[in-house]
Amino acid sequence: MKFFKKFFPFIFLSPAILWLLFHPGSVLIEIASFPQYAKASITSIFAPEKLMAIEDMRWNAFGPAKEELAATLIYNKAFVLADNFFNYVSFFSPRWYFQSGDGTNFSPPTVNPISGVLFFPWVLGTVYFLAKKNWKIFWVLLTFGAFAFLVGKRNFAFLFPILLIYLFMSHEGIKKLSPKLKRTFLIGSFIYGAFLLGRMLWFIWTKS
């Protein structure tokens, strides 16, 4: 209970979380569409344009003798899989969560999904969980990321759990700061969070 009391203001001051909570219908519809999305996403793993790029590289690799063994060994479908792996990895890129949003209707307009200043405590929080060998949180993170990746949708309807976990990590990171710095950071991030909410509401109001 004490934890929720402390964590609640962070949720309240994160535009993306409020935005999603106020749009439950579209979030649920999006999530319910995952079977179609997943089918389309999985069939596009070896999309022709990706294979074409690999073939172009293979054909021009190493030297004049085309399609050498080394070229075949390096430029093949495994490369496409590795590329997909790094696409998956990019689902965790902090920029989306702390600055730009996902660029869809599931992201609050014109503001950071999570307050941008929380990036620094997020790093400290990540370090804290690693130091504590709390692997569970990382597994949960990777699993939700994998689900979004398999569905092929890089939006907060699917990445909402990651958003929450990042916020939680930031919260834990702030706790690790020295008391003086912690107070300054808390006050600063609450003022900035309130500003973001105000900006989001102002934007909705002026555009309606």
């Binding site: 590289m57 021009n60 030297g63 590329d83 890129s93 920029r95 990036f119 370090v127 690693l130 105000g198």
Partner: protein
């Protein structure tokens, strides 16, 4: 069985030398051929160094300048002066221009070993840091292309290492060397103008428990360091406040120049109070900067697609090799567990501040401007390797080295085959042949016109062909050194319709975009030069 740690400790000096040899090999092998041709900046460095060597003046006839006006910019002076002895020894050649930075890049690997060691990292971890840098494509590429950022990084690391050394030895000469190195890093490249003072201040606070400021001896040493700093800083401050040499560069690359930000700013004219509060310019600038800053914290950029050797959608290389990914995570874990608080503090500082200079400039994820970040990765990977040797034992090291070898073959192929094929035009490929041909055949024509607009996909690039003519044509160079102007025979502009009507005999060297429609069939084609990807680069035409 002899442990790897023991081997490294016993043969440390030999292994440091081996790292230097490896780094030199990676940076000097076929240096004239890769990158595919001298860039505009490289020919500018080469010619200005040649001009300083022969006349003591730069291309604009200014004596021993501290900021070189060239290629539409003010160039930091360090690389140009470093190229002078090399050009004296080897002449005005591609090798001579590229040699100094390749040497400095190689020495950086050695300095990195001592820097890491001075921070308390094990000999195995430190040595690995140097080895890792010696084979790092990110650093190899920029070392081979005469980039100023490589020189600046060398001096930054040297300054940091000497400072840490001074906190132990308290020798005035070492402190003076540290200050001189930090200062040279500021003189060498733009990113260090912001980064170096921050690092120096941070190191001071990090090691202040060792400094003993109250002692007279230390105060005297600070006085000496202050004098050294003043020697380097005074002309720099003069350039900053009384000329446009420093400010012009900052203004021309600032994020404020980006259209996406510029169009959003109100510049003080807000329509209402709501706009003034919630859409104010400070917030818009902050959020724009934050996006650029956070863009650097992207594992895909770090390990998979960061150097842009190939077009989007094609296999590429990250700042680090993909094989470094597991070692990186191991290193982060080992660093967190480390009891060396100073090292942890410095790593965290470098992690957060490393991309700061790059994030304040135009362009997203700029690998050149992010080079100052390298020490952070070296600290982490050095720890990772240390952990690997202690906990995973030899098989882990051999597995890493085996995958590294595959990764390296891949890099070598990308760098020597694909990069020149896709991006030769961005290295002004073809201007060497253009300049050489024009020079050799000058007696056959009354005038020679050389285009400044080129590109395989459209007339998208603008170059400075006069610099290539100065570099590759002795005849025009001698005229330029004497008079400050080119031979009247060579004109630098796009060929046009009127050229075909003129009575004099002209050689028109243009891109295919200069001879479109009816111009294509006019005159007589003498020679055609293609880019390595087969697209037309330059057409050599006689006007009659």
């Amino acid at each position: 069985m002899v442990h790897l740690d023991e081997v490294i400790n016993r043969h440390f000096k030999v292994l440091v030398f081996a790292v230097l040899v490896l780094a030199l090999t990676m940076r000097l092998l076929s240096i004239e051929k890769y990158p595919v041709s001298l860039s505009m900046d490289e020919v500018a460095i080469g010619y200005n160094a040649y001009s300083i060597l022969n006349t003591g003046k730069d291309e604009f006839r200014e004596s021993f300048p501290l900021a070189f006006r060239s290629a539409g910019d003010y160039k930091p002076p360090v690389n140009i002066y470093l190229a002078v002895p090399s050009i004296y020894l080897f002449g005005l050649t591609e090798f001579a221009v590229r040699l100094p930075v390749a040497l400095i890049g190689s020495l950086t690997a050695v300095v990195l070993i001592f820097f890491l060691s001075s921070l308390g990292l094990s000999k195995a971890g430190s040595l690995f840091g140097g080895f890792w840098l010696s084979v790092l494509p990110w650093h190899i590429h920029f070392s081979r292309g005469s980039f100023e950022a490589i020189t600046a990084l060398f001096f930054l690391l040297l300054g940091s290492w000497l400072f840490i050394l001074w906190t132990k030895s308290k020798k005035a000469l070492i402190l003076a060397g540290s200050v001189a190195s930090f200062s040279l890093s500021v003189w060498a490249y733009h990113a260090e103008r912001l980064f170096t003072p921050l690092v120096a201040l941070f190191l001071f606070f990090l090691f202040k428990d060792r400094i003993e400021l109250a002692k007279i001896k230390i105060k005297k040493q600070f006085l000496v360091a202050g004098i050294v700093l003043a020697i380097f800083a005074t002309p720099f401050l003069k350039l900053t406040f009384f000329t446009e040499a420093i400010s012009q560069r900052a203004a021309s690359t600032s994020i404020l120049r980006e259209a996406s930000l510029g169009n959003a700013l109100h510049l003080g004219s807000y329509e209402n109070l709501g706009e003034r509060i919630f859409d104010n310019d400070f917030y818009l600038i902050f959020i724009h900067w934050l996006g650029k800053y956070l863009n650097y914290y992207d594992l895909r950029f770090w390990f998979w697609k960061g150097l842009a050797f190939t077009p989007p959608g094609y296999p590429d290389l990250g700042l680090l090799l993909a094989v470094d990914l597991p070692l990186f995570f191991l290193g982060v874990y080992a660093l967190i567990k480390s009891k060396n608080e100073k090292l942890k503090g410095l790593a965290l500082f470098w992690f957060f501040v490393g991309p700061l200079p790059a994030s304040l400039t135009m362009n997203e994820q700029h690998p050149l401007r992010a080079l100052v970040w390298i020490p952070f990765f070296a600290i982490v990977l050095g720890h990772g390797f240390d952990y690997l040797t202690k906990k995973v034992k030899s098989w882990g090291v051999f597995l890493y080295l085996a995958v590294l070898a595959i990764n390296f073959v891949y890099f070598a192929d990308i760098y020597t085959h694909h990069f020149p094929r896709y991006y030769s035009e961005y290295w002004q490929y073809g201007y060497k042949e253009v300049a050489t041909y024009a020079c050799e055949n000058r007696d056959k024509y009354d005038n020679i016109v050389i285009t400044d607009t080129f590109g395989g996909y459209g007339p998208l690039n603008t170059g400075l062909p006069y610099l290539y003519v100065l570099f590759y044509c002795d005849w025009d160079r001698e005229i330029f050194l004497k008079t400050g102007g080119h031979s009247e025979k060579i004109l630098f502009r796009r060929p046009n319709f009127e050229d075909f009507l003129k009575p004099e005999k002209m050689l028109l060297i243009g891109s295919p975009w200069d001879f479109l429609d009816e111009l294509e069939k006019k005159g007589k084609d003498v020679y055609r030069l293609d880019y390595p990807n087969g697209k037309g680069a330059f057409i050599f035409k006689e006007n009659r």
